[in-house]
Structures are given as C-alpha cells and as structure tokens.
C-alpha cells in the first residue's frame, strides 16, 4: 500500500507564459512511513501538498494511491468558517463514512478546544484550526495523514499526544521547520527547484536543507 508520484509536473498560467512549480517529481510513500518534506518558502510546497491530496491534477505525470490519504490538513483547509468545529467534524465524518457521534467525541477529547468546539471555526486561532484538522483526521483513521505546515504540532501537550498517536498511522508533512521533521519523521526529502530528493538519513536531509 503506497502513494506514488510518477514524473509529476505542475505549471500555472501567468500573465506571460507559465510558471513551472514542479518539474518531474518522483516519489513513493509507503504505508506507515512518516516522511518529512522540507522546502523553503516559494519552492512549491503547497502545490505538492495539493497534488498529493489529489485535489489538484498534475499538468503532466500521474499519481497512484493504494492507501487512503487524508485531505491536506493545514490552517485554511477543509472547513466551513461559519459553522462550528463540531458541525465541521460531523460533515467530515459523514463524507468519509465514519460514525458521526464517535468522531465528535474523539475530537472533543483530543483537540483541546473546550467550548470553542461549538463556536464558528472563523473565531479560531490558526493553532486551534490545525488542532481541529489533525484531531478529525486521526479520528477518521486514514492510512496516511497529509499535513501542510501544521502549527499546533511541536513541543506542546497536543504535539506530544499527536506524535504518540502517529505510531498507528503514516504521515507526510510538508514544512519549512526542520524541528518538526526531527520530532515526527523517520524519513525526509528536500523540495528544491521543482524536484524532490529523498534522503534515508534524517541528518543528511536536514544538513542539505540548511545549506540551501
């Protein structure tokens, strides 16, 4: 079971010509792996996440998924701002065919939102949003979580609880924070100039990233 990218290119139309963001990305993410993808600002991290989440189609190349991958969990993603965290949880539980009440209970106990769970998501801080997204995705039990710059992870109570739960699930986290990769991942890759390079050794990946 894996998620596989085969020679993926992505470009966007500009006023003049096209901007080539990804230029031939090849990658295999296996089930249970926890992969950190490091990239500087503007190297196409968010584009890569949307392609991995299969909510945007590549301009060229293909994606094969034989495991379930979450939606891209980040600060903005996947919520209806006017609805409460609980209502958003119910919606997501329904579309992923999960028991609704059990999912809400899990999020209530895990996301540390307190009364805010019943307030509109618009009123949340970015940390609260990412906690909500991460908690829901753990409840849905994807084979692999796809995380885009989640602020809430880190050395906090929630961050440690999240890291502990990850033992049962795979993870792809796309970030510019080397500390996150060191905390959560067992494999790393660096995104630079439109291509993705994998390193079996975390230190080597972090050293390469720091020298960019």
């Amino acid at each position: 079971m894996a998620l596989e990218l085969i020679d993926v290119h992505k470009s966007y139309p500009m006023n003049v010509g096209r901007k080539h963001v990804l230029r031939g990305v090849n990658a295999v993410f296996h089930k249970g792996e926890r992969v950190g993808v490091l990239g500087r600002n503007g190297t196409g991290k968010s584009t890569l996440v949307r392609i991995l989440g299969r909510i945007e189609a590549p301009t060229r190349g293909s994606i094969r998924a034989s495991m379930s991958v979450s939606w891209p969990i980040g600060m903005a993603a996947g919520f209806q701002g006017a609805l409460s965290g609980a209502d958003n949880t119910r919606f997501i539980a329904r579309i992923y065919d999960r028991p609704v009440q059990a999912t809400v209970d899990y999020v209530e106990s895990f996301a540390e939102l307190g009364e805010y769970l019943h307030m509109p998501v618009n009123t949340y801080s970015s940390g609260m949003r990412s906690r909500l997204g991460l908690a829901i995705s753990l409840a849905v039990e994807f084979d692999c979580l796809l995380v885009d710059e989640a602020l809430a992870v880190g050395d906090t109570k929630f961050g440690r609880a999240f890291a502990a739960r990850l033992r049962n699930a795979g993870l792809i986290i796309v970030t510019h924070q080397p500390s996150l990769v060191r905390q959560l991942c067992n494999r790393a890759a660096v995104l630079d100039r439109g291509t993705l390079t994998f390193y079996e050794d975390l230190d080597e990946a972090l050293a390469t990233y720091n020298s960019l």
Binding site: M1, R50, G53, R54, I55, E56, A57, R64, A65, S66, M67, S68, W71, P72, A76, A77, G78, F79, Q80, G81, A82, L83, D87, R90, F91, I92, R94, I95, Y96, D97, D143
Partner: protein
C-alpha cells in the same frame, strides 16, 4: 476505506456521491438557517410569505382578476415555482465561492454542491405548494384536477433551473461580471415566464412568441394539473426536456473544466 489504483466500481462512486450530497444538504441547512430549533421553518416561510402576498395583491380584485386568474392558487402556487427557479439561478454564482473550503476533500465535486442546494429547494417548494393547495381548498376552491401534473411541473421547473444554474456556476467561476446580468435577467423574466398569463389568453401573434419560452410550458402543465378542463393548456414536454438536457451537458462540462482552474489558496 482503502482506495485502490484500479478504477472504482460505479456503484461505489454512486454511494459515495449520495453520501456527500447528504452531508452537504445537512451542512447547507445549518449554514443557512442556523441550528436553532425553528430555523428550518424559514425555508418554507420565505416563499410562503412572498407567494401569499402576491396572491393577495393579484387575486383580491385590487388588480382585477376573474375566472381562474382571480383565484388564490393561480398566483400563489405559480409564484412558488418562479421563486424556486429564480432563487436557484441567482444563488448559482455564489455556490462555488462559498464552498471553496470543502473542495479540499477530494470526494466533494462541484456538481454535488449544486445538487445539494437544488434538492433542498425542491423539497421546500413541494412543501409550500402543498400548503398553498390546502389553503386554497380551505378558501373554497375545487381540489386540484391532477396533483401528479402539478408535481411534474415542479420537478421540471427544478430541473430546468438546475441546468441553467450549472451553466451559470461554471461561467461565473471564470467571469464574475456575468453574475450581474444573471440577476437582472432572472428578474426581467418575470412578466414573460408564464406566471401571469395562460397562452390561450394572448393574441395569436404573441402566442407564437411565448411558446419559445420553456417556463411557459411548465406553467401550462402546472395549471393543467390545477384546473384541468377549465381552460385549454398548451405545452410540449419534449421541448422542455431539451431545455433541461442541453444546459445540463454544457454546465457539467463547464464545471469539469472549472474544477481544474479553481485555485485553492
């Protein structure tokens, strides 16, 4: 729920789509009417109030109606159908933008967003039509000649509006200015829609023109169901079917293209 690289079965896709549309319907009800206990009543209240007022103004002799044109149900129920038609088309331009966040979930497709709204509209419309029919009978009118024909007219009106709404949604996602024309057009259509007249009442040369308007056929079918033999209905359902099918094809194709162009921030 593991996904395989093999093409999923059609029946699984259908099941997923039904699930997504169901979730969207509940979500839409919550966003539009809140979670308070009587919030859903607004769904019926707005068309009830509007249709009722129009019927009172036109049917009460203020504007001088006679025959079936003077009855409560001629305007009230007619207006409910027009109200649904106009509401669906006017809301189409905001359907994508107000739901953009949900597109982060790959099983949510653009047409699903529209279908969910339209199902709500259809159900509300059926409810209000039933209420007006009961009121009309209570006011002393005869029971409708064929409720089945009335429901068919309602269904066709929702489908016609859905086709147009899909096209409007696709076009406005690329060119936002079109929205302004849509609002104006949907309002200006009111006198020509068939809501205020029966084809039979018009002079011959006008009859030849109005039969090109698809909503006219639907209103004729509605009134055939309401009043039966009390006048001669003029409708061609295959013409209406064309007006439903072609915009659906254009709209669904347009949304497929639009999906690739919509940026998720």
């Amino acid at each position: 729920m593991s996904e395989t690289s093999a093409r999923p079965l059609l029946v699984d896709c259908a099941r997923q789509q039904v699930r997504v549309i169901g979730a969207l319907i509940l979500r839409e009800l919550h966003t539009r009417f809140g979670r308070r206990r009587f919030g859903y009543l607004w769904l019926f209240f707005e068309p009830l109030l509007l249709g009722g007022m129009i019927a009172v103004i036109h049917g009460s002799g203020l504007r001088g109606g006679s025959g079936i044109r003077g009855t409560f149900e001629f305007f009230s129920i007619g207006y409910v159908l027009f109200f649904a038609f106009r509401g669906m088309i006017n809301r189409a331009s905001s359907t994508i933008s107000s739901n953009r966040g949900l597109l982060y979930h790959r099983q949510v497709t653009l047409p699903d967003l529209f279908f969910a709204r339209h199902i709500i509209e259809g159900v509300a419309c059926t409810g209000v039509m039933t209420i007006f029919t009961i009121i009309a009978v209570g006011l002393g009118s005869a029971f409708p000649d064929s409720p089945m024909k009335m429901l068919c007219a309602l269904g066709l009106m929702v489908l016609l509006a859905q086709g147009v709404a899909l096209v409007v949604g696709a076009v406005t996602s690329e060119w936002e200015v079109v929205e302004r024309f849509v609002h104006a057009m949907s309002y200006l259509m009111l006198p020509f829609s068939g809501l205020f007249f029966m084809v039979e009442w018009l002079p011959g040369w006008m009859q030849d023109i109005v039969v090109w308007i698809p909503t006219v056929h639907i209103f004729e079918l509605l009134r055939d169901g309401q009043f039966g033999d009390r006048y001669r209905a003029t409708y061609d359902l295959s013409y209406v079917a064309g007006w439903i099918l072609i915009p659906h094809l254009l709209g669904l194709t347009g949304l497929r293209l639009a999906r690739q162009r919509i940026g998720l921030e």
